[in-house]
Amino acid sequence: MVKFLKPGKAVILLQGRFAGRKAVIVRVFEEGTRDRPYGHCLVAGLAKYPKKVIRKDSAKKTAKKSRVKCFIKLVNFTHLMPTRYTLDVDLKDVAAGTDALSTRDKKVAACKAAKARLEERFKTGKNRWFFTKLRF
């Protein structure tokens, strides 16, 4: 009776190219839109997880291993597995409207901005679960 598919919720994608990847809900379209007449949401997720960083690594190596590749996608609710985790990263201005996915340039720009936010969150060491790959 509590709505749990809210912006900031960490989810796992179940279908598509990014199946098994973790993502965070950015924007929810509860009733759908004219193009997509079903409940769906905009998610920003990790296409490539950051690699495991060890203490022995030099600064250059750490920077290279902490890189993240991001994706932004509109996903149907049925193709998501919600989790109990949340990720309060401010991605609203990154992928604010539906126009973030309208043209390729905007999508790339949004991905780059999301990548920067996610990378800085990874570097703080918080939300460790989100940045580890799901083993299955």
């Binding site: 009776m1 509590v2 709505k3 919600p82």
Partner: protein, 112 residues
């Protein structure tokens, strides 16, 4: 002795309450719609049969935990649950949206 007698009465109670919900309330039957009602927070109670596959059972329980909805494990398999709903098919899980005249929502969490 007394405990088993009590559970027997509880299953009859559940069956009676379910019957009332079927008559007067709103419900959906089946896994896909149960998840849908849990997602859009319309569900008030979820009932799962005892022979539901364990992965599906834990998935429904997880969704219900996120949505803060009680899950009732029915003492019977999907055939029995279908019969309890007055249907001629098997029902593995069902979701009650609006209990109607029944008090199933109020009394079930206490039993379990």
């Amino acid at each position: 002795m007394v405990a088993s007698k009590k559970t027997k009465k509880s299953t009859d109670n559940i069956n009676n309450k379910l019957q009332l919900v079927m008559k007067s309330g709103k419900y959906t039957l089946g896994y896909k719609t149960v998840l849908r009602t849990l997602r859009n927070s319309k569900s008030k109670l979820v009932i799962i049969s005892n022979n539901c596959p364990p992965l599906r059972k834990s998935e429904i329980e997880y969704y219900a935990m996120l949505a803060k909805v009680t899950v009732h494990h029915f003492h019977g398999n999907n055939v029995d649950l279908g019969t309890a709903c007055g249907k001629y098919f098997r029902v593995c899980c069902l979701s009650i949206i609006d209990p109607g005249d029944s008090d199933i929502i109020k009394t079930t969490p206490g039993d379990q």
